[in-house]
Amino acid sequence: MIGTGAGVKGRTITVATITIAVMGLSVADGRSAAAGQQRASSGPLPETFGFGRPATADAIADLDIDVMPDGTGLPPGSGTAADGAPTWGRACRGCHGPEGEGGTAAPVVGRDPSGRPLTVGNLWPYATTLYDYINRAMPRPTPGTLTPDQVYSLVAWILAKNQIIAEDAVMNAETLPAVVMPARDRFVPDDRRGGPEVR
């Protein structure tokens, strides 16, 4: 059984499979680590199948909630630590403690030269990730219910408690990406590559 190549803008994937009786083992080109488990259909591939429907800008905007380190994705809105204190008291302190010191959930406040515990001050490399994560997943019982102003103010409260920003600093789509986190340079890419060396 011989597969066909599928042209992809600037990439060409060619999969040639040879089926061996009984075991169903097959081989593919070097690109496909999943040798033998690639596409089993035969015949030429169309340029596109035409399945699904075009995604409208509105449909994308409804779901596209992620926030990147350069601030891409941050919505309008703003808040300060003082603004965030009531929301912290209502939605966060029950699990993370009155001062963010931790409780049934992990501590979020703490600066320690040893890098422990794994708080925002010690471990989070990007302030934008705080907005992204609180907005998508917090508070645990009712995620996704906070307004942008509430999220900005909670981010400000946490950053101020970690002594990363001033108490009166306003967090918004411009200021948040500019915050330099203490843990910014602690991260290195994975250097494990297999082979005899244990890493």
């Binding site: 599928a6 803008k9 680590a33 596409r39 990147m68 990730t129 998508r136 645990r140 082979g195």
Partner: protein, 409 residues
């Protein structure tokens, strides 16, 4: 072709009447309920019809494998399984916002970002694309518990399971939407209460990534992402995002919480964190004999599982003397890449204390390390991707216990 067996022989073989019953039957009790006799093969099931056909089969009431649930995960009972495919209802689960119940009629997958044609796919759309099936393991990168001597294999590393997955190659979908050559990462986002997100290198998409909708031929179980999930063979389980609702292509990683403050590994004295450590290194565990078995002197087949996220397992070595000498185990064919493989080694236990252990090697030449070697390489705070050699001790009395002290330093 064999000759038709003599009918009387057949009846005797089926145990219609055993010699013992003929003798006991002199009392005239034959035909009434036959009381079970210890040490004698039961025959009562041959005296009345069993249950008829049913819509769905269930395990024998004598067979009760169970996952071990905690607040955030449940672990596969490795010690109760004999092959390499994990029954779907025993596959481990780990989730960060509970298991959502998703109506397949309302399920949609959005693919957008650096693509020519952003599109939305229904579950039916995904199933129309050319399909492929693949057997591979999944493993949580937090898959080690260092319990005491009374620790089951399930508790040591039950956050790994294996499945025949069926779905569509992610590269097929990326062709469909016209993935930009400038895209280097893609975001995968779930439809659970964590709306869990991970950034994945595009190379993986054009290597062997899939979007799967079937688990061992059946629909995915809810805990494994029903109705559709990402599948990244060989990568840490967290990155195979379940209940997949959105994929966004970009020219850089998104730096989500799950790839910054979580699923990153302290190195050295903890100043440095290893990031985007996707691949699961080679590992093995003996699943039998293991705690809580008590074994008799004589022959035992040491059995277990080995796997590597980098390709095929090429050998598994067994030691029965606590690591002093090693011997190659048999590997059960077919040995698939990025898949659990069964190993077996015959051992004649002559009594006296012993310690059995397994050590996996994969096709890159990587050899499963000791706990001390891992700590030496990474420092004392390493918390993910721990794949040390583990052992079971055998006492004079045949009691098998987890070799907990090997993980104590």
């Amino acid at each position: 072709m064999t000759a038709k067996p003599d009918r009387r022989t057949t009846l005797r073989r089926r145990g219609r009447l055993t010699r013992r019953e003929l003798l006991a039957g002199a009392a005239g009790a034959i035909g009434a309920a036959v009381a079970p006799v210890s040490g004698q093969q039961a025959v009562e099931t041959t005296r009345r019809p069993g249950r008829g056909p049913s819509e769905i089969d269930r395990r024998s009431s004598f067979v009760t494998p169970r996952r071990d649930p905690s607040a955030t995960s449940s672990r596969t009972p490795l010690q109760d399984l004999r092959g390499t495919i994990t029954p779907a209802d025993l596959h481990f689960e780990r989730h960060h916002g509970g298991v959502p119940e998703i109506d397949p009629a309302r399920y949609e997958l959005l693919i957008h970002g650096l693509v020519e044609r952003p599109r939305v796919f229904s579950l039916a759309d995904l199933k129309r694309f050319p399909s492929t099936s693949r057997i591979c393991f999944l493993e949580c990168s937090g898959n080690l518990r260092r319990g005491g001597p009374e620790t089951l294999p399930q508790m040591v590393c039950g956050l790994t399971s294996q499945t025949e997955w069926t779905g569509v190659m992610l590269s097929t979908l990326f062709d469909e939407v016209g993935a930009s050559p400038h895209a280097t990462w893609f975001l995968a986002e779930g439809q659970d209460a964590a709306v869990l997100t991970r950034s994945i290198p595009m190379d993986k998409a054009f290597d062997d990534a899939m979007i799967v909708y079937a688990q061992n031929g059946d629909a995915l179980m809810p805990g494994n992402g029903y109705p559709a999930r990402l599948l990244l063979p060989g990568f840490e389980g967290n990155s195979s995002v379940k209940w997949l609702r959105r994929i966004e292509l970009a020219d850089r990683p998104f730096m989500t919480r799950e790839e910054t403050s979580k699923y990153t590994d302290p190195l050295g004295d903890g100043d440095t964190m290893r990031q985007f450590s996707f691949v699961m290194d080679a590992r093995s565990i003996i699943t039998d004999p293991s705690y809580p078995r008590v074994i008799e002197p004589g022959w035992h087949e040491i059995r277990g599982l080995a796997w590597s996220g980098r390709g095929r397992i090429t050998r598994v070595d067994i030691s029965t003397d606590g690591g002093t000498s090693w011997h190659a185990a048999d590997l059960q064919a077919p040995v698939l890449p990025k898949a659990h493989v069964r190993f077996r080694y015959l051992w004649n236990w002559t009594g006296g204390p012993g310690e059995i252990m397994s050590r996996a090697t994969d096709e890159t030449g990587y050899v499963q390390p000791t706990w001390d070697a891992l700590r030496e390489a990474r420092g004392p705070r390493t918390r993910y991707h721990q794949n040390p050699i583990t052992s079971w001790t055998v006492g004079d009395d045949g009691h098998v216990l987890f070799g907990a002290e090997r993980l104590q330093s």
